[in-house]
């Protein structure tokens, strides 16, 4: 069990040791750096319309030295929109992932450890939440509560904790009868201490799998909601770029407008997926051979 | 000569290797022996000595990283090592069938046991499904299972019942050879005895030959005519079962005999051979048994022993000519304690 603890201390090592995890980490880091320095990198205000010397809107201009990824129908700079969009993706991804897994892990720990009625009630709740169509629900929630990044994160968190809690619970079920837990109980450790000092460190690798996966799914959900027109109206997220592109009817003509957001979302979601695979091998050593 | 006419299986200088990430494991090295019609051949050795690899090689059932590196396997006058997949397929089960080591997982969990026996029959015989099914009933009767159980799924069977079902399946096509790979290891002791009993009675009514793989020398004594003693992927001794057990010529055979209760019923202490089998990725120089052999000489660490003829077979030992003296020594526990001391010193 010390082993699990040690490998957690070397989170970085886990990711670099594994080829998939390493690629994921690199993609993620690149996007993170872009997001942090976004306001320095972006040459234009992403929401500002750009005009040429004659005062006409620079509509749908293909990539050039002044507009690296061209302009939109409204003459906005796609490159700047992309750069600023990485910030939103990162904020939504990281914040939701942390909330989702924090809630999911704790609920899983409690359900698995206490068992009986508590477990039963929680697991039925999880079953029901599994029955809720995620995207339609998020859509209605955001529409009712008002568009905004906070409500988007809320919708994501309300639903997706189900995934991690179910898996963590079954892990706890196998852990709680192990001898080292028995030993802790015999020395008179409190439930709280057993749960968070002894069991939690052992489910952490599994939680990390879900951190990476939840990040990916949160980014995808934000993009989807924005694409459907329910994004934060004040921000230019990747999903929203695609929304404007689709609804302007110009998507067939302006590849520079349509391709970059899709590629960026795919890469960032992929990075989460690849990192989750690396964590999964730590959480489940049986997979390592494959 | 008569000797060649009834030769059913003949293995000559067989090498089998596995390719793994750390290199090539020579799991079976320079193995030769033969099986005659109607004979039961025992294949003994500790786990990991290459027994299972050897028998998998006979039917070319090696995993994808395993291959026959050298040598020939003849089934009657046909060379198995040169057969293509289709020729092999026709021989499998029809002429050589097997009772696998772990009956627990040997049956496909999603099909009824009866259907799996029927599948074996229909693969090789042009009979109707009904005929195949009635043959399956007959076989179940033979191994002492109710024929209604043919409709059960494997998970509804106990370990012993599964093993019986596999025995029934192995007999289904009346093959010339049945290979039983440690048929009792996965079972508990009481059931083990039952299954062995069952195999013995079946053998009485079965005119084919059998290869019995085991690490239990007492099983050999009960059932086998001939014996192959393997160690570290090589044959240490091959010969008439009774003779080898009575008067082993190889120190390893002597050690094995010590490790099991006497077959003649005489009372004595069981002595195990200290140490562990060699790493086949880097096999020791000279005789493979040298590190654990109480009689090893300087020569045994440098030179691989040649095969030397014995009464009904051969042995691979440099000190074969002193076998009689060694046998006397090997009966004493101190002899084997010496190796333990030697190992500590090294």
């Amino acid at each position: 069990m010390e082993d699990a603890k040690q490998s957690l201390n070397n989170l970085f090592k886990i990711l670099t040791r594994n080829k998939a995890g390493f690629i994921g980490l690199i993609i993620f880091t690149v996007f993170l750096i872009i997001a942090i320095f976004a306001s320095f990198i972006a040459p234009y205000d992403p929401m500002a319309m750009n005009f040429d010397d004659n005062g006409a809107i620079k509509r749908l201009q293909p990539p050039s030295s002044s507009h690296l990824l061209g302009t939109t129908w409204m003459g906005r700079d796609v490159f700047s929109q992309m750069i600023m969009g990485s910030r939103i993706a990162m904020v939504v991804g990281i914040l939701s992932a942390i909330c989702v897994v924090f809630i999911g892990t704790n609920i899983g720990l409690i359900a698995g450890y206490y068992g009986g009625k508590v477990d039963n009630v929680i697991m039925r709740l999880v079953d029901i939440i599994y029955g809720i169509p995620f995207l339609p629900f998020a859509l209605i929630l955001v529409a009712v509560l008002g568009p905004g990044i906070k409500n988007i994160i809320l919708a994501i968190v309300l639903i997706t904790w189900r995934n991690s809690s179910r898996v963590i619970r079954s892990q706890v079920l196998t852990l709680k009868n192990r001898t080292f837990i028995e030993a802790a109980r015999l020395t008179g450790a409190s439930d709280f201490r057993i749960l968070y000092k002894h069991i939690a460190p052992n489910v952490l690798p599994l939680s990390l799998v879900y951190v990476a996966l939840s990040m990916a799914s949160a980014i995808m959900t934000e993009a989807s909601l924005s694409f459907l027109g329910f994004g934060d109206p004040t921000l230019s997220s990747w999903g929203k770029i695609l929304y404007s592109c689709y609804s302007s009817q110009a998507m067939f003509k302006a590849w520079w407008w349509m391709l970059p957001p899709g590629i960026a979302i795919t890469l960032l979601v992929l990075s989460g997926f690849l990192m989750s695979k690396a964590f999964e091998e730590v959480a489940n050593p049986k997979l390592r051979e494959r | 000569m008569d000797m060649y006419n009834d030769l059913l299986l003949n293995i000559e200088n067989l090498d089998v290797c596995y390719k793994i990430s750390d290199g090539i494991v020579k799991a079976v090295k320079d193995v030769s022996f033969y099986l005659r019609k109607g004979e039961v051949l025992g294949l003994v050795g500790e786990s990991g000595c290459g027994k299972t690899t050897l028998i998998k090689a006979i039917l070319k059932l090696l995993p994808s990283n395993g291959y026959i590196a050298n040598g020939e396997i003849y089934f009657k006058d046909r060379e198995i090592t040169k057969m293509d997949n289709e020729q092999l397929r026709r021989i499998r089960w029809n002429e050589i069938s097997m009772i696998t080591q772990s009956a627990m997982n040997a049956l496909d969990p999603v099909y009824k046991v009866g259907d799996q026996i029927v599948e074996a029959i229909l693969t090789h015989k042009a009979v109707s499904k009904k005929e195949a099914y009635s043959r399956a009933m007959e076989l179940f009767n033979l191994v002492g299972l109710e024929k209604g159980r043919l409709n059960d799924f494997p998970h509804q069977f106990s370990g012993g019942m599964k093993q019986r079902a596999i025995i029934a399946m192995a007999l289904a096509l009346n093959p010339e050879i049945i290979i039983a790979d440690e048929p009792t290891t996965a079972l508990d002791v009481v059931v083990q005895a039952q299954i062995l009993e069952r195999i013995n009675t079946l053998l009485a009514g079965y005119d084919g030959s059998m290869i019995m793989v085991t690490h239990d020398i007492s099983v050999i004594a009960q059932t086998c005519h001939r014996i192959v003693v393997m160690y570290g992927g090589r044959v240490m001794e091959f010969g008439n079962a009774i003779e080898v057990l009575k008067e082993p010529n190889h120190p390893y055979s002597m050690g094995l005999k010590n490790a099991f209760p006497s077959i003649t019923g005489e009372k004595r202490n069981l002595i195990s051979i200290p140490g562990t089998p060699p790493n086949l990725l880097k096999p020791p120089k000279g005789c493979r048994f040298n590190e654990r052999c109480p009689f090893a000489l300087e020569k045994c660490f440098h030179e691989e022993p040649m095969l030397q003829g014995t009464k009904g077979g051969y042995v691979a030992c440099h000190r074969f000519y002193e076998a009689e003296d060694l046998r006397a020594e090997a009966g004493k526990e101190e002899t084997w304690m010496k190796i333990r001391k030697r190992r500590v010193m090294v």
Binding site: D127, I128, G131, I132, P133, F134, L135, P136, F137, L139, I140, L141, A143, L145, A216, M220, A223, S224, F227, L228, F230, G239, L242, C245, Y246, M251, F252, M258, P261, G262, T266, L267, V269, L270, F273, R290 | L59, L61, N85, L88, R89, R90, I91, W93, N94, S97, M98, T100, Q101, S102, N105, A106, L107, D108, P109, V110, E119, A120, T123, H124
Partner: protein, 325 residues
């Protein structure tokens, strides 16, 4: 008979889930800040009609009573009137329901085939170029936003190559005598290809990856070796034994995937302007037509539950080890 009992039990469970779904929906719309009445009654109506509707829906009553009225009217199939269409919401959605169902069944069936056979192929060709390239491709499809893939397909196959229509479900102006006519006309099938392809590629990715690793596990099993020892032909070993066993975990993830796909129909239907429930829910929410949105949500939930039920029953049928009781 035991299996009948099992199915009955699952149906009861499904009804319970739907009931709770409806309850969540009810409170969601009432607990929210702002005037809940405006969410139910078209503010464009005159005062008198508003009052009348207020009474009719019992919106002047306490919350608990409202809830009972709400459930009762739902049981009668009364989901309220759509503001936009001026018709009962259920009538509007009823038609959309079939359009979504046809698209979903088609794409889920295709995705199951792609997942099972594609995964088996990659596992069989393990370590070769086919495996490497295939896995990367599947990962890319799995991680790309499905609406973006749809946009790409539209640009390539509809706009550039002009092979397929740009969206919708049939060419405007065509009329069909019957449902059969509608769903089996060449025109409809042409419109179906791109959305079904996009949805099925997306839904196939996860089952495919599961099938691949499940196959790699199964071929190592002892029973596969025994079947080979029996002299069964390699092709038959692959189909009848290896794939059949590897299929089991695929069914489990496929159930989850189906739920996901049905939720994702909001994206596919929006991109391809497919007149189904998913697109309707987006339009309804945008137009603040809440009775319509609620109805669509309820039916999408029902469809999800139905697919889950089918997957469970299928699993129990495919795996004899599942004890049904």
């Amino acid at each position: 008979m035991r299996s009948m009992k099992y199915i009955l039990k699952r149906i009861l469970q499904m009804i319970l889930t739907l009931f709770i779904l409806v309850t969540i929906l009810f409170f969601l719309f009432r607990v929210v800040p702002g005037d809940p009445v405006s969410m139910y009654i078209d503010s464009g109506l005159d005062k008198e009609s508003q009052e009348l509707l207020l009474k009719q829906y019992g919106l002047d009553k306490p919350l608990l009573e409202q809830y009972i009225i709400y459930i009762k009217s739902m049981l009668r199939g009364d989901f309220g009137n759509s503001f936009q269409y001026g018709k009962p919401a259920i009538t509007v959605i009823g038609e959309r329901f079939w359009n979504t169902l046809v698209l979903m069944i088609t794409s889920l069936a295709i995705s199951l085939c792609i997942g099972v056979f594609g995964g088996a192929l990659l596992a069989w060709k393990r370590g070769t170029k086919i495996d490497t390239v295939g896995t990367i491709l599947v990962l890319a499809v799995r991680c790309a936003p499905v609406f973006w893939t749809g946009m790409l397909f539209l640009s390539i196959f509809a706009f550039k190559l002009k092979l397929l229509p740009l969206g919708g479900m049939n060419t405007p102006g065509t009329n069909f005598v019957s449902l059969y006519d509608k769903f089996f006309s060449a025109d409809f099938l042409k419109h179906l290809i791109l959305p079904a392809l996009t949805a099925s590629l997306y839904s196939a990715a996860t089952p495919l990856l599961v099938m691949r690793s499940s196959m790699l596990e199964v071929v190592k099993e002892d029973f596969i070796e025994l079947v080979r020892a029996k002299g069964v032909k390699e092709k038959k070993i692959l189909y009848k034994h290896a794939m059949r066993n590897a299929l089991l975990p695929v069914i489990t993830v496929f159930a989850v995937q189906a739920g996901f796909a049905i939720g994702g129909s909001v994206l596919i239907e929006t991109v391809f302007r497919w007149p189904g429930m998913g697109r309707e829910i987006v339009l309804a929410v945008s137009a603040r037509d809440y009775p319509l949105a609620q109805t669509a949500f309820f039916l999408i939930g029902t469809m999800t539950a139905l697919f889950n039920l089918i997957a469970d029953v299928l699993y129990a049928y495919l795996d004899p080890r599942v004890v049904i009781n």
